[in-house]
Symmetry: C2
Subunit: 168 residues, 2 copies
Amino acid sequence: MTYKADKAIAEFVEQMGLILQAEGLPRIAGHIMGLMIMQEGPFSLSQLAERLSVSRASISTNTRLLEDLEVIVRTAKPGDRQDYFKLSPQPYARMLRGVVRRMRRARDVVESTRDSLPEGMTDTHERLKELDAFYEALIESFMDVIDTWDAERERPARQARHGERPSA
Amino acid sequence: MTYKADKAIAEFVEQMGLILQAEGLPRIAGHIMGLMIMQEGPFSLSQLAERLSVSRASISTNTRLLEDLEVIVRTAKPGDRQDYFKLSPQPYARMLRGVVRRMRRARDVVESTRDSLPEGMTDTHERLKELDAFYEALIESFMDVIDTWDAERERPARQARHGERPSA
DNA sequence: TCGTACGTTCAGTATTGACTGAACAAACTG
DNA sequence: CAGTTTGTTCAGTCAATACTGAACGTACGA
């Protein structure tokens, strides 16, 4: 019944490509992430290139991107010169941190605009304050989700921790 | 001191263009939104085109886009055949609803993949469950923010409600 | 009914950026 | 040392899409 598994993997990889693309990331980054969710890995750069049928150059740039986003980590196997990649622990929470950073920048724009506003534009001031408050609420809400996830991680685990190869 | 105001408006319009663009929307949509935050309006299609120095065609498509996102509303002035546009009440909360919709679709992908998974891939199943839970938490968190904003609106106001011109 | 103003849509253009292949640098193997 | 393997980077290509100008349909006014 490996056929069903392969089909499910292929479809999910494709879909994650589209989902990540909708978030403004390269499609291949989504493919990599999707594959790693479906199969634990770790995968070498060449393995990823072959598995996803894309150039090693693309894999290189996209793994670096995902590494910057802290979604994946680069690991090494003893006695092997290749770099290996796998999902980092709590990859989604880490990714969310990046979103929060972007949102803080947007909020900063709003605030600096508000500060540079001449007197008398009280109505504009009010609208900017509303937008500022909205960003604030959103950021705080995100942080809550992240914290919850991190707390989950702290609990040292009644099950095996993610990211450990099973001995079998 | 109108110079300072104009400069602040121009800069904010530009920045909102970049911010919206980073969210995957057309830059001009950001310009429109930015202008409407800085100046209450309402603006006619032609006014927007001239004010932002872009074609009326672009304004037409982008106002329709923002209208679909429920960020702006189309209004009419008695005795004037032109369409006028202004920010809708709670524009940001409404925009957030769209994000939630997108996220629900992503979550659906995860769930349907999980359902179509053959027996034995317990590890994969686990990771998909984690992603599913993450989406769930995020969606719920968003909904909270939206509800808070809506509740704020319900309260008929100790202050002037947004979107109403103050008499002063 | 003709003329005008308005908004939409469509074909074409330009820009952005994802992806590739090739050249390259560094680290290992013989 | 020469030869391989591995990852990165860069120039070039291709596809997606934002934006424009023009043509169109519609509704209003004389």
